[in-house]
Amino acid sequence: MSASVANRGSRWLDRAWTGLLWGLMTLFLVNIGLMIAAVATNSFAKRWLGTWLPEGWTTSWYTSAWKEFQLDAILWVTVQVVFAVVFLALLIGVPAAYTLARRNFPGKRLLMLLFLLPLMVPPITYGIPLATVLYKAQLAGTIYGVILANLIPAAPFVILVMTPFIEQIDPNLESAARVFGAGTGRMFWHILVPLLGPGILAASLLVLVRTIALFELTFLTAGPDSQTLVVALYYAVFAAGVRAPQSVDAMAMVYMAVTLAWLLIALRFVNPTQLVSRVKEHPQPA
């Protein structure tokens, strides 16, 4: 008898606990959703002061934000930076990942540490010494400096995503290609690149989304002509008193649209947890 009562009590506790967790999660997500909705509403508002909804609707903030912040120039810089970073990160990252996946050599652990460190140390810590060096080399303030700075977390990220991916490709395929006389270069293009396609696509989308959102390094190294969208948004919010808040929110919506569009594309090809970290996917027994 008492056992069943205790059982019922603990089941009630379990249910309360589950409810509490779901409640917290819902509260969190609802507030984030409303936060985004508030920005969206404000960007279409004529005037919005202390009421539930604005007094009237307009799209003029978008045209004025576009002109005021010179969004076309900023978007063009962003596109250039992001694609250059993705391309260069793949160019140096994929071959390095191949070596790390296939060969054992002295100093490998040290090399892995070298590639892991930039992901563990936050950008602002190494960004300041980096910016100092880039200013000395007269690269800071130019788009090249911004690209170089953004490559520092991007290249190791490609390496860490691609290494386990390459490890799972059967080395016999490469040996077969070698037997038929293919050199490293031909083997790379004709065997590895097609097989690595999905992994390269996933890695490049992840780098792309992360680079769009990476604020600190661009902020520390960009000059007036080499701001990406996120840095321009920061300056717009920072100097908010000067401009209408709706105009800043319109710009935030443009930024959000760009990020979300790429995020949705990325999510079609990759598991969300990969955006955060590299953790080896363990085989799930059925």
């Binding site: 140096i92 071959p95 100092t132």
Partner: protein
Amino acid sequence: MTAPEAPRAAFDRVLLLVVPAAAFMLLLFIYPFLYGLALSFNPKEGGALANYAHFFTTDNLWPTIWTTLRLALPATLINVGLALPIAFKMRVKSPYQRWATTILVIPITLGTVLIAEGMLTYFGPKGWLAQFLQFFHLYEGSIRLTHNYWGVLISLVISGFPFAFLLILSYITGIDPVLARAASTLGADPRSQFRHIYLPLLAPGLAMCFCLAFVQAFSVFPSAVLLGSPAGPTRVISIAAYEAAFEQYDYSMASAIAMIMGFVQLVIVAAVLGARSLMYRGPVSAGKG
């Protein structure tokens, strides 16, 4: 970096593929770091340690360490503390899991700047949250959640919680469910499964997650400026470093602050990983998995 002692004739040219990436990291990550370290001991005036002496004797510099810790530690504890039970609940593959992970990725990719702008609009004194609370008379008086400590803390939770959640979820789903099933055939309910199976196996992952979440929170910059009061209660250490570098153009001092920042992070990370090593070490899969 490549294998030097391999016999010359059989030198493996594949090893050369790693050279560009390694050279890039040495040139743009290690070199600036060492350069900054050297520069920090080479102040504009005074002896080698003048920058550090200045930092620890100036009233608007050394307290930034505590200001930052006061923000970063609670934020990390909240994030990891909430993420662990929720991730544990969602460890079984289900449609919810896919949906929740997808939705939670959004705040991470939007980044801290957009979160700050959204919070200024939504949590502000005239925002929807304040209106809602006053409309239902849940809270009277003015609601101040922006431009102070709480604004920054909330923004750290919004950007940090999804990160901690996804990381812990990937660790939990990496633990072989066979172990938990074995425990449940022996009569263990979910709670004791958690205590005796999952928690010990998760310890390394949790320690790693805590470190990563802490390091992120510790380097808070945009939200401390936009959502906090950067002159007062949320004057964090990264603001001090930024001001030294880009407002006073004292790169030597800025490097010194960056080094102090890195050192404090390292101390906390070492403490967490050290505490972790007192606990269970072993494989997380049953047999061959």
